[in-house]
Amino acid sequence: AAREAAFEARIDAGDFIEAKDWMPEHYRKTLVRQISQHAHSEIVGMLPEGNWISRAPTLKRKAILLAKVQDEGGHGLYLYSAAETLGTSRDQMLDALHSGRAKYSSIFNYPTLTWADIGVVGWLVDGAAIMNQVPLCRCSYAPYARAMIRVCREESFHQRQGYESLLVMMQEGTAAQKAMVQDAVNRWWWPSLMMFGPADKDSPNSEQSMRWGIKRISNDQLRQKFVDATVPQAQILGITLPDPDLKWNEERGEHDFGAIDWAEFWRVVGGDGPCNRERLATRVKAWDEGAWVREAALAHARKQMNKEQAA
């Protein structure tokens, strides 16, 4: 209890906690859950974008997309490493993902249907992710905070690339391309807003996380910031955000926006989204089909070790 009080005092003083430091079990568990979920999101998030690598329309765009998806895998790696500092292993975390015990961001249960989706995912989905993640760079658990600094830097690069690709299509493209961009925005706008999680009043884990300095800004506050930042970007693009209630509220100094379809949110989180089953099946298939490779690598390493010992 004394240790717990000391811990709380450090948190209150804005100290960072390192892996070797003592921490309450619930703090540790909360972090493992959040960091591994975040890592899984990066890995599962490779799939919807990876879907367009083979069809990228120019070699430059193909290279950008490959690099982006590769970066996401890299984020997964740092984040698994950050979680491992808390005493779990990558295999344990992957097992939790594959068996359905662990979650990943629900946004990746939506399909990428056109090339414009790739730009829009960069702009809106990465944009929302950054909005969520920037405060995590000041998270109380230092290894996570450090990973997030790197992740955020790369993600804002991705977001700019996504936005830029939309600008090219909207400003120099054909009518068919412009329609493709607008259609993609129509499909991704609301799911992007849902990325900030349930409304504050319905968000059970938030309070303790705020208390512990794992979370720094509430879901609704982040969502509002995202809307306010995105509206002018949409204007520059020349696309319409699919919300008739979206307008500037002079009094609040913020945008009002329409009601989110929380029934859809909970349905998709609960497993009944367009791609839930398939995303998980794809990951499990890759893992299962790779089993012989991992076993062979292990067997070879063992042989090498035996040889070295014998020598």
Partner: protein, 258 residues
Amino acid sequence: MSQASIQVGASPQVQYLLRIADSCLILGQRLGEWCGHGPILEEDLALANMALDLIGQARALLTHAAHLDGQGHDEDQLAFLRDERQYLNPVLMELPRGDFAFTQVRNFAVATWLQLLWGRLASSSDAEVAAIAAKAVKESRYHQQHAADWVVRLGDGTDESAARMREALAQLWPLFNELFDADAVDAAAVAQGLGPAWSELRADWQAQMDEVLADATLAHPKPSAYVSAGRRGVHSEHMGHLLAEMQYLQRAYPGGKW
């Protein structure tokens, strides 16, 4: 405003460069398919990275080939708007990605070959080709090393991995012949000092393959008399499916800007 196919001229110089550019392009396309589907996350990254290097090499060579061809095409028109019969990569590159054993055996064979080829092209009489090659040879050396590690690990791993490696070798072996086939395009490149006849690379390639296969405790398959002719645009049935996908957006959105 039509996305009908373009034609590339028949100059042996352009053909020689396209054979290499298309090899990088098409193998890069295949490696990109692994992204999100590898056996361990580190390999998703490594294979994507290789794909990225190969696409970069292809871009540089395609741009240069388009310039030499002198019809005002750019890298993307060459990459996306030729008919299948105008792609000049050896058939080896276009075969489906297969399992991880197949991918690593092919990567090793191709990287060994490219590393030798870029090494020779670094002293090309064409300064642009020499510059591209000087950068690319370092990338290929890294690809070769990475694949060699896997060939050894999987060849000398478990019974299953060794069996898969033998099967991959048996499937791929007949396709290696084309990497060393000789013809008039080659002869012209030698005459111009543009680059080596591919046949000149065979001995070194074989020596480097042999060394790693020995470490991997893998035997040679029996030689095959078949020589594929992708370098003259005669591909396998896989190529058309690959191109249908790769070219789709360029074909379906005439006049698009991306």
